[in-house]
């Protein structure tokens, strides 16, 4: 996990903001919370995961016969990055995610 200090985009911050709780959240839930479409969401999730800002795991399906789902949660580094972004004087919009 390589953590780079590149500035996070507003969309990336919105994704991190939607993961601010301790619960694991699914891609669809994050999409609903942030208003992002799948075409924007997954490249962001991959980037954040590769930067070590979020972790992922497969969760067993809630209903039998359904496939396991990939869920996401913010890491300590993600929380720090989000806190840093909120503190930073650079203006950003979280689109109501936090």
């Amino acid at each position: 996990m390589v953590t780079r200090s590149r500035k996070l985009s507003n969309q990336a911050l919105a994704v991190l903001g939607s993961l601010s709780g301790d619960d694991w959240r699914y891609g669809l839930e994050i999409a609903t919370a942030t208003g992002l479409k799948s075409g924007s969401l997954y490249p962001l999730l991959i980037r954040l995961s590769e930067r070590g800002l979020l972790e992922s795991r497969w969760l067993e399906p809630e209903r039998p016969g359904r496939p396991a789902r990939h869920a996401y949660r913010m890491t300590g580094a993600g929380r720090a990055a989000l806190r840093e972004a909120v503190r930073s004087p650079v203006e950003f919009k979280l689109q109501g995610a936090i």
Binding site: G27, K37, S38, G39, Y42, P43, L45, I46, R66, P67
Partner: protein, 197 residues
């Protein structure tokens, strides 16, 4: 709705089949969310497809760049160069050798690219023929800028456009098929360590 779901399923299949190895888990994640959706899944699948196209472009950009450079530029100019080199020969000989060079170069180029990506040989064969033919029209339009071009005046290798493109497709596909077969033969024929012991 059923048709939309069917279309969505087709899109998600397209998006998640054979992703680059580093993105396999993410492809499965996108598919799992698609399965979890109750309705309106076509938009989600379309987004997944766009993501997947991005992965593939990033993973194969060198191959694609080489493919388009060869099919739009190199093939045309190597044929032109050969025409210029033999233009002192009798007219019929020039035509025969020139066309043979064009066909040969197309088949060899398709074969080389198909050897590099054997599973995609049909797409490579068709793509190489079509892109190179359309680029010829592009080059022609570039050098005759401002002059009207009619499809009736276009000929490919002394044949009408449809016949000419059909022939080019044939040569290109044959080249690609030979390329992927040779690649398979060389891979199978590679000696394994300790095979002679």
């Amino acid at each position: 709705m059923a048709r939309a779901s069917l279309f969505g399923r087709w899109l998600i299949d397209l998006a998640t089949t054979n992703p680059p190895p580093s993105r396999d888990q993410w492809a499965q994640a996108m598919r799992a969310e698609f399965e979890a959706l109750e309705g309106g899944c076509t938009g989600w699948a379309l987004g997944c497809l766009a993501t997947s196209v991005g992965w593939r472009l990033r993973a194969n950009w060198r191959f694609l760049l080489a493919f388009f450079a060869v099919s739009t530029f190199f093939l045309q100019w190597i044929s032109l160069l050969f025409f210029l080199l033999i233009c002192w020969l009798p007219h019929d000989t020039v035509r025969a050798f020139g066309y043979a060079t064009n066909w040969g170069a197309l088949a060899v180029a398709s074969g080389c690219f198909a050897a590099a990506r054997p599973r995609h040989w049909p797409a490579i064969g068709i793509g190489m023929a079509l892109v190179s033919q359309f680029s010829i029209v592009g080059w022609f339009a570039y050098f005759h800028f401002g002059q009207p071009i009619s499809i009736r005046h276009l000929h490919i290798m002394d044949a009408n456009v449809d016949v000419g493109i059909g022939a080019e497709l044939g040569y290109s596909l044959i080249g690609a098929m030979i390329g992927q077969s040779l690649a398979g033969v060389f891979r199978r024929g590679a000696p394994k360590s300790g095979a002679l012991a």
